[in-house]
């Protein structure tokens, strides 16, 4: 009898989606990892324990591991402190120039990696602006004061607040203004309101963002490499080296497993803390939170001072990067400017030479394709999972899709490479290594967990009745999905797509293993230029590339967040866009001041 089947099995769309998901997960999430683990740990038909002995015996490996975990834990605190402050300053309190503050803080969203470190170096490095100021005023301060654990934490903290700016801002926007007012009414001071009413409501989002922060800290590569100094090196560079050395890959895999355990532990802890679920406002109609004036003049002044000090911290590095991109390698390396340092040559090279333009084309194409594929695919999967929330099927799908978070990126990539360098039945007996497609697959895989989580939140925010209403009006599942559900999650989907797109533009780690020889993306080009193995020092060109990437990232964010897309739509079709503009962006960061 039909009714004995689980509910999802009765929906053709669900069955198809599930079949595709199962195949994709098996082929690209499960098998590659199994292959990798088998390869490194099953030596000569037995379980090899060599890697564990080597790692445990290595003081450096252990201290690097400790440092990575320490960094991840520290960042989980510092990023939240700064992130929450940043969100308070731009969304909660009525500070002067909130818009400018937001734009300044948002710079952390448009650049990263080695170039970002260079930016901070211009300020805090041994010849940086601040260092020069410091050493003049306080001669006993050493030139290389900005190094080690504090420096790494400092830079990474400011680099990682982007998620707060987007996601915490969004949930701040969902707080009901009247709860704040009623607390004030009952005699609570502004500080009490913040502590007892506002922050608890934000906690679930804070936990969710903390997962991202923790993962970022655990896998930190560029910043500790440059600023860690002797005493604060982390595990990621070592893992990368081992992953690159075939005979040492078991070490990389072993490290990956250790990191995976920490990640799982963190996910479990946060899931438990998060169990209360998202606090949706219980109000029938909630009033939008308007920025709060700070009553106490001293607190107000202090808040302004800190906010603008942070603005300087945020803005100086990228500003200097832009400035120095117009100079030669020597100026960049030494952080000094002379009148004759300035040149447009780098830009000319980057923009005019066809061979120099090619990596851009490749990177943008890959990023765009992967970002679109992952969002399109997951739209269906998340729809499936949220339609049948309590089924075992949904639970399994959800767990499987989190694999790429648990397995460090390099290892996922190695698994793909190893598995698909020989013909595999699961992909129709083809060899995928060396094809154009495999890099796209890897990009898609890497973006699945992040996309899945955010998209799921968006779907859960949709009133079920809307869907039911459509079905009663005679609409099929697919039609309902297309015409009713999709428009509702589109703003979130677009935002995720933009973030994914930006984050893949300068990828190196994945591309270096998987890129097709003729389609090498920008990340490889940049790394080659900085690796010190070329004759000429190409660091100037790298700055130019980075600035161009910043421009692309800014445009993407503007399209999604700054209402750019709406503006363009309005130009194209005034009637349509007018109505669409009514849709609130679920991640809308911009205060409607």
């Amino acid at each position: 009898m039909i009714r004995r089947l689980p509910a999802w099995a009765r929906s053709p769309m669900a069955v198809i989606t599930l079949a595709v998901t199962a195949w994709f997960s098996l082929a690209f999430l499960v098998l590659p990892n199994l292959q990798l683990l088998a390869e490194v740990f099953l030596a000569d038909g037995g379980l090899s324990t060599r890697a564990w002995g080597r790692l445990l015996g290595s003081e450096r490996a252990m201290s690097s591991l400790r440092n990575s975990v320490l960094l991840a834990l520290t960042l989980s605190v510092t990023v939240n402190v700064v992130g929450v402050f940043v969100v308070l300053a731009t969304r909660y309190f009525a500070l002067r120039g909130r818009r400018i503050l937001w734009l300044g803080y948002a710079t952390s969203l448009i650049y990263g990696g080695i170039v970002m470190v260079a930016g901070y170096d211009f300020v805090y490095g041994s010849s940086g602006i601040l260092t020069r100021l410091l050493t003049t005023v306080l001669p006993f301060v050493p030139e290389d004061w900005f190094v080690g654990y504090p420096a790494v934490v400092f830079v990474m903290t400011f680099a990682s607040t982007g998620n707060h700016l987007l996601f915490l801002n969004a949930s701040m926007a969902r707080i009901d203004q009247q709860t704040v007012e009623s607390a004030r009414q009952m005699g609570a001071s502004q500080w009490t309101v913040l502590r007892r009413v506002v922050l608890p409501t934000l906690l679930p989002t804070i936990f969710a963002v903390t997962v991202l922060t923790f993962l970022g800290g655990l896998g930190a590569l560029a910043v500790p490499e440059v600023l860690g100094g002797r005493d604060f090196q982390t595990i990621a560079p070592m893992m990368l080296t081992f992953a690159n050395t075939p005979s040492s890959r078991d070490l990389a895999a072993a490290l990956a497993i250790i990191l995976a355990l920490f990640t799982i532990a963190m996910l479990l802890i946060l899931n438990r803390l998060e169990r209360g679920g998202t606090y949706f406002s219980v109000a029938k109609v909630s009033t939008q939170l308007t920025p709060q004036k700070i009553g106490n003049p001293v607190a107000n002044a202090v808040m302004h001072v800190i906010a603008y000090a942070l603005l300087v911290v945020y803005v100086l590095p990228p500003a200097l990067i832009v400035l120095f991109s117009f100079t030669d390698a020597r100026s960049i390396s030494t952080g000094t400017l002379r009148a004759d340092s300035f040149t447009l040559e780098n830009y000319a090279t980057a923009l005019l030479e066809p061979t120099a333009r090619w990596p851009f084309v490749v990177s943008i194409s890959y990023s765009a394709v992967a970002a679109l594929v992952v969002i399109l695919g997951l739209l269906f999967v998340v729809r499936l999972v949220t339609r049948f929330p309590r089924s075992r099927m949904s639970t399994i799908v959800e767990y499987v899709l989190h694999i790429p978070w648990v397995m460090p990126g390099t290892m996922m990539v190695l698994g793909l490479l190893l598995l698909f360098s020989t013909p595999q039945g699961v992909v129709g007996g083809r060899v995928l290594s060396g094809t154009v497609g495999i890099l796209a697959v890897a990009y898609v895989v890497g973006k699945i967990p992040f996309t899945f989580r955010l998209l799921k939140a968006a779907f859960l925010g949709i009133n079920r009745n809307v869907e039911e209403a459509a079905s009663l009006l005679g609409a099929s599942q697919l039609y309902t999905f297309r015409r009713v559900i999709l428009p509702l999650v589109l703003p979130t989907a677009a935002a995720i797509t933009a973030l994914n797109f930006n984050s893949m533009l300068d990828d190196y780690d994945t591309a270096v293993f998987l890129a097709h020889p003729f389609y090498q993306p920008l990340g490889i080009f940049i790394r080659n230029a900085t690796s010190g193995e070329t004759n000429a020092d190409a660091s100037a060109l790298v700055f130019v590339y980075s600035v161009i990437l910043m421009v692309i990232a800014t445009i993407t964010l503007w399209l999604i967040y700054g209402g750019g897309a709406a503006r363009i739509l309005r130009l194209l079709s005034p009637r349509r866009a007018r109505r669409r503009s009514g849709d609130a962006l679920p991640l809308d960061p911009a205060d409607q001041a």
Binding site: I2, N463, A469, A470, L472, L473, D583
Partner: protein, 348 residues
């Protein structure tokens, strides 16, 4: 036309509807009335196909629709929270079902305008986003969206609950008219007794997923089958044992002793003291408070240590009382409703 046959609905361990059987006639305006959480929405949603019954059958026109997907049941529904499509304009919302059914453009246009007029939406409002409308207007869009498909069956889940009294009255009348005009069989869910009484052909009173009584408004109000129905609908005054005993001794009185006994507050009479009692039980009291309601006045009258509410329509009391006035409350024995401690047992 619509039949619930021993329908049981469970959510996990919780049984929302234990064993519901109901029959609704063609063209009838049938109301499910009951307190919050009694399973009204669940019953509707099961009929619409959103809940799978654990057992039992649903018949529409004699056909078993239990396993039919909801988009093929041909049922219209107005949701408790409107469930409008937020990304569409008012017009698109209303036209949705017609477009799904691939009706020609002209027809869609015409029918949308026609129904919009009937629910008093202006053409200007048609092109707004639904979020730009006020609550009452949104509700009318939801109604229009369901009616434009001319469903033979219409389910309405508290469609008027968020409107102000004036608008609510207006829409009640309009809804009823549309229903009669198109001959739509309607099941209406509400917890507002007044609404249920004024609109329905028949009412089913639900409690904890069980039907307490099915009947016309007058039956349900005047011959409440159970104590629950009696107390849930309208305002009643519970009579003390002494009063019951005295009432039972009046000549020709149907009142029995030892049962729980009630009288509707508007059946109580309020007079100056020492007037002839017309075969009623008369008790002296003092007016505590008089709440003026316009077309009636509700008095709180103190009888010893109890307070009794008495509702006096304006025309029955040209001379109003004020707090402190000494009055006499009268109960006619034939107005007494009596019940066993629990279970359905009517006295009248």
């Amino acid at each position: 036309m619509i039949t619930f046959e021993n329908v049981t609905v469970r959510f996990g361990d919780f049984t929302a509807l234990p064993d519901l059987s109901l029959h609704v006639e063609e063209g009838e305006f049938f109301t499910l009335l009951g307190p919050s959480g009694c399973g009204k929405s669940t019953a509707l949603r099961t009929l619409a196909g959103f809940n799978d019954p654990a057992s039992g059958r649903l018949l529409v026109d004699g056909r078993d629709v239990t396993a039919l997907p909801s988009d093929r049941r041909g049922i219209g529904m107005v949701f408790q929270n409107y469930a409008l499509f937020p990304s569409m304009s008012v017009r698109e919302n209303i036209a949705f079902g017609l477009k799904v059914a691939k009706r020609p453009k002209d027809e869609v246009h015409e029918r949308v305008h026609e129904i919009a007029e009937q629910v008093a939406l202006t053409p200007a409002q048609l092109d707004k986003g639904v979020a730009e409308l006020s609550g009452g207007q949104q509700q009318r869009v939801a109604i229009a969206r369901a009616l434009v498909l001319r469903p033979r069956i219409l389910l309405l889940d508290e469609p008027l609950s968020n409107l102000d009294a004036k608008l609510r009255n207006q829409l009640r009348v309009q809804l009823k008219e549309l229903q009669q005009q198109f001959g739509i069989t309607s099941i209406y869910v509400t917890h507002d007794q007044d609404e249920a009484m004024s609109m329905s052909d028949r009412i089913a009173v639900l409690d904890h997923g069980r039907i307490e009584q099915v009947g016309t408004p007058r039956e349900v109000y005047e011959r409440s089958a159970t104590e629950f129905v009696c107390t849930f609908i309208g305002s009643v005054h519970r009579l003390g044992e002494q009063a019951v005993s005295r009432l039972s001794q009046l000549p020709g009185s149907p009142v029995a002793e030892g049962l729980r006994s009630y009288v509707r507050v508007e059946r109580l009479t309020l007079r100056e003291r020492h007037r002839p009692n017309d075969g009623r039980l008369v008790v002296d009291g003092v007016v505590d408070r008089a709440d003026y309601h316009g077309y009636f006045t509700q008095y709180a009258v103190r009888l010893g240590d109890r307070s009794v509410s008495v509702r006096v329509p304006w025309s029955a009391t040209e001379s109003a009382f004020a707090a402190g006035d000494e009055v006499a409350i009268g109960v006619a024995p034939e107005d007494v409703l009596q019940y066993e401690r629990s279970g359905p047992e009517a006295g009248a």
